[in-house]
Amino acid sequence: MSQSTARYSVERATRASRVGAVVLLVIVAAIVAMPWWAGRADIRTVTEFLYILALAQMWNLLAGYGGLLSVGQQAYVGLGAYSIVVLSLKLGLNVFLAVPLAGLVAALVAVPTAAIVFRLRGAYFAVGTWVVAEIYQLFVANTASLGGGSGLSITNAVRGIPAFWREALTLWFAAAIGIGALVLVYLLLRSRFGLALTAVRDSEPASESLGVNVRDIKWVVYLASAFGCGLVGALIAITKLRLSPDAAFSMDWSVIMFFVVVIGGIGTIEGPIVGALVYFALREFLDGFGSWYLIVLGLAAILVMLTSPKGLWGWFAAKYDIRFFPVQRRLVLGDEAKESAS
């Protein structure tokens, strides 16, 4: 027996993943040091890239791994943003201390929401989550103390923080959330929980029959995603400094999450990064052509879905067998095993 076990090994890291880890560390260091070497416009772009990446990763976790096709994550972006209004503008808490609390608020609201929308499946779930997001938006728009339908400015909440530090802290928070989301999803998927999660995605009844608690898993994923979206919403509020229910709870957040994840590759960790890069490239390239970038993105997403449903990264990874964030276990045959097999 001992002889046969020596013939193969189970590999969880690849050469690409070791290189990937080093590259990631270098990028993180470069981003953290950005306030001292980059211009303000670049810092803003990178900050936006990071929170788009975080949103995409949250939706990827939810839909790509958890199989929960929500069209209503803008609810938590909006709630996170408006938490800053309550916590910082009204209660005077430092905006950056309020960011994690905003994530908690979103997760808390997600508890009763999940209790209702989890009664729905498939298409019903998708549209149900959308309706819930509309309800939260209408509640905020009907609350006069939150600025009502026309919104309000939160400039007073950041008064006293120098512009340099405000931008630097926003960037660092965005980096923590964007890259944190990436690392978190990676570690989550490599754990026992990740196995259960992908099993649920592939077949609910089969995983349930093998003892996976489908309900608990969906709860965890939904609350985690709400928390992440809430954090991003709070950051968006701090960057924009002006909030309105229409913008904070905008369907555009879901549009971006959908397109970025699907174009990049749903159910892969690298996919949202690729998708976010494509999104930013298209937006910069078609800058000045109004909303044409959205039309091109929509066409690209449809084309990807119809021709290669695993997205750009899925296609690339399958063709060249490269994985920077491997979550699966791979069987590597030893020399003896290869010989006996041939």
Binding site: I116, L120, R121
Partner: protein, 290 residues
């Protein structure tokens, strides 16, 4: 008291418009389990087609239906055959995403073509004409026409479903896709016809919407939500249920509007959620979501 009776009547009549929004969605959702996220934007597209046709013809906007309805039907058949048929399967992500993309493309194309300004159709004095009812009440002629059209459309669909071979094919494809194919039904063609009928109704709904109120390229998604809510409240696969669903939604909205102008849409959504919580399959389901 009269005020409340008026609110209830207006709400029920508004439900006629929602039923028109929803009839096409009910059809495609019932037959193909296709959730068309672009449904609301197609209604808006039909409205703009009506505006273009009316400008070109210089006639009463109702004449534009002669052009809009067939155009939408052809668009529907083509859309289903070329794009949407490729997305059907057990996974709901492809149809959801592709129609979502379609929605974004339509919204932004309309924005480029017609700008963000809201526009409408003018049907002349007919729009404001009303019939006096006993007790000092009055109902608008146009809302009544919308309601009657909704009943006619749904009655017609019901006849097609129960009396014709096409209807039999629709029901067969709805109940069991694979067996229907084995029995010699060309599902792709049947689905194309279903979408053609659905979008023909969308054509009527869009022109009516543009006459009733002004439209702009961003109003599509909320029309989709109303349509979807009407379908789900009524129950999957039940056309008369969809009419009832539209009326319940219209009633909930107009009661909300009367209580506080900011609450109308909110009470509609709440009514929808309440039905989902207590009757997850809707009030009058004929078939089940698989």
């Amino acid at each position: 008291m009269i005020g409340w009776i008026d609110t209830i009547i207006q709400g029920l009549l508004l439900g006629g418009l929602y039923a028109l929004f929803a009839a096409g969605l009910s059809l495609t959702f019932g037959i193909m389990r296709l959730i068309n996220i672009g449904h609301g934007d197609l209604i808006v597209l039909a409205g703009y087609l009506g505006i273009v046709a009316t400008d070109a013809l210089g006639l009463n906007p109702f004449w534009s239906l002669v052009f809009v309805v067939p155009a939408m039907a052809v668009l529907g058949y083509g859309l289903q055959r070329v794009v949407l048929n490729r997305t059907l399967g057990t996974d709901i992500l492809p149809p959801l995403l592709v129609t979502f993309g379609l929605s974004i493309i339509l919204q932004n194309l309309l924005m480029q073509l017609f700008s963000a300004d809201s526009r409408g159709l003018n049907a002349g004095p007919f729009e404001t004409a009303s019939i006096a009812l006993p007790g000092g009440l009055a109902v608008g002629v146009f809302p009544v026409l919308i309601f009657v059209t909704a009943i006619a459309v749904i009655g017609g669909l019901q006849l097609v479903f129960s009396r014709t071979s096409l209807g039999r094919a629709f029901r067969a494809a709805s109940d069991d896709r694979v067996t229907a194919e084995l029995m010699g039904i060309d599902n792709r063609h049947i689905y194309g016809l279903a979408m053609a009928i659905a979008l023909a109704i969308v054509g009527i709904a869009g022109v009516y919407l543009a006459i009733r109120t002004s439209i702009d390229p961003t109003v599509g998604p909320s029309r989709l939500l109303y349509a979807f809510e009407a379908v789900i409240i009524g129950g999957l696969g039940s056309l008369w249920g969809t009419l009832a669903g539209g009326m319940i939604l219209g009633l909930a909205q107009s009661i909300g509007f009367r209580l506080d102008p900011g609450w109308g849409i909110l009470t509609g959504h709440m009514a929808f959620l309440a039905v989902l919580v207590f009757r997850p399959n809707g009030l009058f389901p004929k078939t089940r979501d698989r």
